[in-house]
Symmetry: C2
Subunit: 605 residues, 2 copies
């Protein structure tokens, strides 16, 4: 039996494969979700993967049909059709959530008033006595003034197929879509939080504002660098690079949206409006805006202004004339994601000292002192999200997501879906480190203590701690946490906690002045508060002042999607959020260093 391995990117998971297996078989064995709504029949095209390295097999006739020449040339294949023919490195768009996740809780109610609305009309068919043009017919009946160019191209067939009973979708006074009234899907709206590592998409019915589902995927640009700076440096080397990253990202978004809409029984062209928020880096990469002056002092964005462009202009396949709204950016790397957090929470309207942190590969902070807003961002890296660690993985099946100590200091763990452990996700590593500190496996400086139970020397010479012994894993080896992993988490939490301290200090405050400490972001909301305090990521303040508010950036994006009033408010708010460049603050370096310590460590100092 031949033994070959497949490495799945951006997951970093390596799986052994047997002869005769397809990539879909292998991915399923490893519990890596691959879209395959046809059950592997080769018809749905949802299981596309890209062969990054290894022998590229000639496409099958089915792949030719489904993928087309361009995608084939780029190395795309169907996982369900692709025989594992050697050691492979494969990129898939890991849809980590399929419509079952939690919608971002709205901190407050908004007036429902979306940018698009529909008009169902019955047109009088043209005849020789009144040979009215289709566009004019439609404009007159709907009261619109402008017909989108692509809609003008499509309308004649639609009108006749619909026997002149059509529903037009209007954005302002422009018709952006037209379809038969019978069987028309609801108008869909998309709010997307475009994170450095993860993408969250929230789908709404724009007829009544009802939430329809949440879908998440890994950001495919991770293969161009885990941190945003690496990607920006790559993108600004030449125009082709920038355009390539845009293409990769848009393709992933299209796949995600196709998957999301299909799950609900619709097609992507039912999407009639979208709001995308993200940090300055992801915003620039999505729009292929030049990043050259963003990565060198004085760190200037190509533009921070709100943009409203036709979605098709960047290749997104929504309704033919649909717009994409990009709220303004705040400053530096603080983008429209933090603006969305500010919109969702409206801290500017509340008294007291309040701080929101939105944890991600870039972590953004927003401080409100009696309604005066200041923001900053800090490069916390992807380690907290489980990436860039020895056994790090996204929060999928088999990931260790919780660790605890029992009476005599023995380590216990849980995995997602109870599968044998194959890795550790962000909440798992925080939980593990809190236990390791408490058990004296690491000291206050984060050093793994030789001689402690479970501490071993790893094959690369690094010191490590056996969290899960081989027998309880599906790895064929122990699941260990290395000294390098601990350092990565220290840097991450140091950046965040150092940022918190600096932001407060610049306003003459300390963590004890906080009336409220709000944790935003899908990731932050999965962390155990006590573990996070134990490792020094969160401040040790009265627990009733700490509040988890879910993905507030997603909630803010949804508010801007559902309400033009909120969209307008966001633009006004953006002008009122001051931006603090941490790199310019002398005390930050010291506070960053201090914040790397483990306050709860029980070992030697």
């Amino acid at each position: 039996m031949t033994s070959t391995t497949v490495r799945f990117e951006p997951w970093g998971t390596v799986v052994a494969s047997a002869a005769g297996q397809t990539l879909l078989d292998v991915a399923r064995l490893a519990d890596i979700p691959v879209g395959a709504v046809c059950g592997g029949a080769g018809t749905c095209g949802k299981c596309q993967v890209r062969i990054l390295a290894g022998p590229l097999a000639a496409p099958s006739p089915v792949e030719r049909d489904v993928l087309g020449a361009e995608a084939l040339a780029q190395g795309y294949r169907l996982a369900c059709r692709y025989p594992v023919n050697g050691d492979l490195e494969v990129e898939i768009l890991p849809v980590v959530s399929h419509g079952k996740g939690a919608l971002p809780p709205m901190e407050r109610a908004v007036a429902f008033d979306p940018a698009t609305r529909r008009r169902a009309v019955t047109l009088e068919p043209p005849d020789l006595a009144r040979p009215v043009d289709d566009g004019g017919n439609l404009l007159a009946a709907t009261g619109a003034k402008v017909l989108d160019y692509r809609v003008a191209q499509l309308a004649p067939e639609v009108l006749r197929a619909a026997k002149w009973q059509v529903t037009a979708s209007l954005h302002g006074d422009e018709i952006i879509a037209v379809q038969p009234s019978t069987g028309a899907p609801p108008p869909l709206g998309l709010a997307i939080d475009l994170g450095t590592t993860n993408i969250a998409a929230y789908l709404y019915n724009l007829e009544d504002g009802a939430p329809l589902g949440v879908f998440a995927a890994a950001n495919p640009l991770a293969s161009y660098g885990a941190d945003i700076l690496t990607r920006l440096v790559y993108a600004q080397q030449n125009r082709e690079n920038g355009e390539r990253l845009q293409r990769v990202l848009v393709r992933a978004l299209n796949l995600l949206i196709e998957h999301a809409t299909a799950t609900l029984g619709y097609a992507p062209d039912a999407v009639e409006d979208a709001v995308i928020v993200g940090n300055t880096g992801m915003h620039h990469l999505l729009l292929a805006l030049p990043a050259r002056y963003l990565v060198v002092s004085p760190y200037v964005a190509a533009t921070r202004a709100a943009m409203e462009i036709k979605a098709r202009e960047i290749g997104l396949t929504f309704a033919p004339g649909a717009y994409l709204h990009l709220p303004p950016l705040v400053g530096g790397f603080v983008g429209s994601d933090l603006l969305a957090v500010a919109l969702a929470t409206r801290l500017d309207r509340k008294p007291g000292v309040r701080l929101v942190i939105d944890i991600g590969t870039n972590t953004e902070l927003l401080l409100s002192v009696d309604g005066k807003l200041v923001s900053c961002s800090t490069a916390s890296g992807p380690a907290l999200e489980g990436a860039a660690l020895r056994y790090g993985m996204l929060a999928g099946a088999g990931a260790v997501d919780r660790v605890w100590l029992e009476d005599h200091g023995s380590f216990h763990h849980m995995t997602i879906r109870g599968k044998p452990a194959i890795g550790i996700c962000g909440s798992g590593i925080i939980s593990a480190l809190a236990c390791m500190a408490q058990a004296g496996v690491i000291n206050r400086g984060g050093r793994i203590q030789a001689g402690q139970p479970g501490v071993v020397k790893l094959e690369d010479g690094d010191r490590g701690f056996v969290l899960v012994p081989e027998a309880a894993t599906a790895l064929g080896s122990d699941l260990t946490i290395s000294q390098h992993d601990v350092r990565a988490i220290q840097l991450a939490k140091g950046a965040i906690r150092g940022g918190i301290a600096t932001l407060l200090a610049e306003n003459g405050l300390t963590v004890d002045d906080l009336d409220e400490f709000l944790v935003a972001g899908a990731f932050g909301n999965h962390l155990e508060v006590e573990s996070s305090i134990a490792i020094g990521l969160y401040p040790d303040i009265p627990r009733d002042r700490i509040r988890l508010i879910g993905n507030a950036a997603g909630a803010g994006a949804a508010m801007a999607l559902l309400s033009l009033e909120e969209r307008q408010a966001a633009s006004e708010l953006s002008a009122r959020i001051a931006y603090l460049e941490l790199a310019r603050i002398k005390r930050f370096a010291r506070q960053f260093a201090e914040a790397q310590r483990f306050p709860g460590a029980n070992g030697r100092p």
Copy 2:
């Protein structure tokens, strides 16, 4: 010595070539204008031709550099580099005029108020204390509200190259271009009359409204059918066909505009606004609007509404964010070209009975009865423009353009630039037919009379008349006018004159009621009035009632380019022009037949 021939499309000219000649050599010998501003050095790329049939040579390194892979794959080569390597069929974009033609005379003055305006600003460079984004910097300094997406992509480099002294171009409150203030070309505006057979482009300086030049080219879609209906039928067969015609047309427009701007020392991206008028068919082909319902009863346009789209949306290479304005269509095949004529003449504001005819492959008629406007169109075919005739050609060097009789009935002729005759253009054939009728070579029914001097039997059995004997031609044969040619002209003039009669009759009028008979169109203005009356194309009315007004469609397009007030007026006017479908009028068939006769023929009836 090998003897090969090259056929140049859409000219239809066949030229013998000797070994060692390039396509540019051959084209020059035949006086076919090929753009070659570098003098054949292979550097300017202006002499591109497309090899339609015959051996396709591998591209030279120069051609690879200048044309790129896509154009090469489509058969494009540089005429100056291409050795004639066998019998060839070659398509060139025949720029028949290079900036020296007459600008369309304006019938009236317009208020200069173009859709775009410029703002020269000096920006404050960003620094760490004020790391303002480039887009925000530009918007604040110019007072604009929206930054075009492509401009946002380009601005960072431009701002720095210009040392922050830049000139922004605004369309409303949107920045559509930005460039260094030093050395900035003037903002150019384009008014294009997109005819079925010919394209006329008028270039203006949008800073002061000064006319800069007129450029004309043959419509490349002629190779997909001389008449508009054939092209529309082809375009509607499937989506690819429609997109192909759009691509061919846009490519030709880009070449023409590149040529026009280069002639004046500028680049195409200096074009900041454009207005294109054309008949309904050309309008639909340019926008790739579905033609399916335009070619069957009740002849419904996809849309007749005015459109304003980004020029880049259809691939036109203007300034990055420039718009293209397409005025509304009138009805049936009467398009924005006739609307432009109505705008140029404002017959609706004048008393009396006035008729404008705009002669082309489609001829449009506009009747004003005390300001009440009615229009119709009639498919006159390309024969009047010299196409589709045995020796027909465009009005280039060597074309017979005037014929006259001397004392004893002997035929004399003149050619353009005095070259030996190689064909006959539209004004030449009208002039020739008038003489043939007067000399009794044809009778009232248009039949060539056997036995008359010069009447011969042609090799295909058709009867013909030797207009220029072989010795005075560069053809190697007599230049003859066949019975088939005469019929083609009869159909053309019958369609026009029949249309005139029907339009008048439907309003209870005859040609004798005309206070003014206006001839519009570059072509009509080259015809001799007396010849045109002699063959029955124009009505025989007092000569002081006949007025040649030049390319009024071009003039109207220019007015809409130079003045937003006029652009608005055009939209209002479009709603007030009634449209008469000649096919629905019973008397038209009879009047079409009657109008085919030659009133001035002196032969037997």
